[in-house]
């Protein structure tokens, strides 16, 4: 759970080092079989140095990080922007901060600024916002 107070942060979580297996497993699960994410020859022909990970895998990791802390049924809005590509071997760190706490139809919600950064140079690969209900329907009172 998180302190529903602007400025509160979630404990960071690390993902990776990203492997070819992580990427193909996500591609198989998601149905996006774009070869640019697993086929180096294809990626080079398209002008890239090597295949790079799928942006939606980064978005999925950040989503897992959010649901781990805020519950699996609470998501109301989840927005991610793809900033930089991730390569095999990269290690990533997820972080989140409360931006606002508000109410919609008598439901208490929290909006988080979320971010996934590359370890090392600290570059942001994905950022965005996530809106979660604090006590989603069906959740037990603590």
């Amino acid at each position: 759970m998180i302190d529903p107070v602007p400025g509160a942060t979630l404990p960071e979580r690390s993902f990776g080092p990203v492997t070819a297996t992580d990427i193909v497993r996500y591609q198989g699960a998601s149905g996006d079989m774009n070869p640019i994410h697993h086929d180096d020859d294809f990626a080079r022909a398209a002008g890239y140095p090597a295949a790079f990970s799928a942006g939606m895998l980064s978005a999925g990791w950040l989503a897992a990080y959010c649901t781990e802390h805020l519950g699996e049924t609470g998501v109301r809005r989840y927005r991610t922007r793809f900033r930089e590509v991730v390569h095999r071997g990269d290690t990533l760190t997820a972080s989140a901060k409360v931006v606002r706490v508000f109410e919609v139809d008598r439901e208490q919600r929290v909006e988080l600024a979320i971010r996934l950064r590359k370890d090392g140079d600290g570059s942001v690969v994905v950022d965005g916002t996530a809106e979660f209900a604090l006590q989603p329907q069906g959740a037990q009172q603590p």
Partner: protein, 150 residues
């Protein structure tokens, strides 16, 4: 319009592929979906037909670029949920709408055709509600980027 059954096995597979192997997904036959799970709608219907709509092809031609797979970038995805989060066992009806097409310049002076489209997910129609209740929307922002001149 395509029907997308939300399957528990698929939810488990997706959760495991995204570092979310938790009992809420793995042990509940009516597991809720992970926040980005609806990306798997592509197993039921091809999406992105908006990216090849006449309006987009015209904008690309005018900007002097090809609307090809190699020049396509995904910039942003947003999922918006209405009412109870979909769960394994639900059947959703998916449909796609083009929102808008804009031509922009990147910082390096290349042209970019930015396309926004939405995939909407409704409950099955009922006698009372011909369209079915809106459960979720996935809003895509994609762009065709002009290749760098050699």
């Amino acid at each position: 319009m395509a029907v997308m059954p939300i399957e528990w096995g698929k939810v488990r597979e997706y959760a495991q592929a995204t570092g979310a192997a938790r009992p809420e997904y793995l042990d509940d036959p009516h597991a809720p979906i992970p926040p980005t799970f609806l990306a798997t709608v592509v197993f039921w219907t091809p999406i992105g037909e908006s990216l090849r709509s006449p309006q987009v092809l015209k904008a690309c031609a005018e900007a002097g670029m090809e609307a090809g797979r190699h020049s396509l970038l995904s910039l942003e995805q947003e999922y918006v949920y209405h009412g109870a989060l979909p769960r394994a066992g639900d059947r959703l009806h998916a449909s796609e709408q083009l929102r808008d097409v804009r031509v922009k310049q990147t910082r390096s002076g290349r042209s970019m055709v930015v396309v926004r489209f939405t995939v909407s997910f409704h409950d099955q129609p009922t006698l009372q509600d011909e369209q079915g209740e809106l459960r979720a929307e996935c809003r895509y922002t994609s762009a065709y980027l002009q290749r760098e001149h050699p």
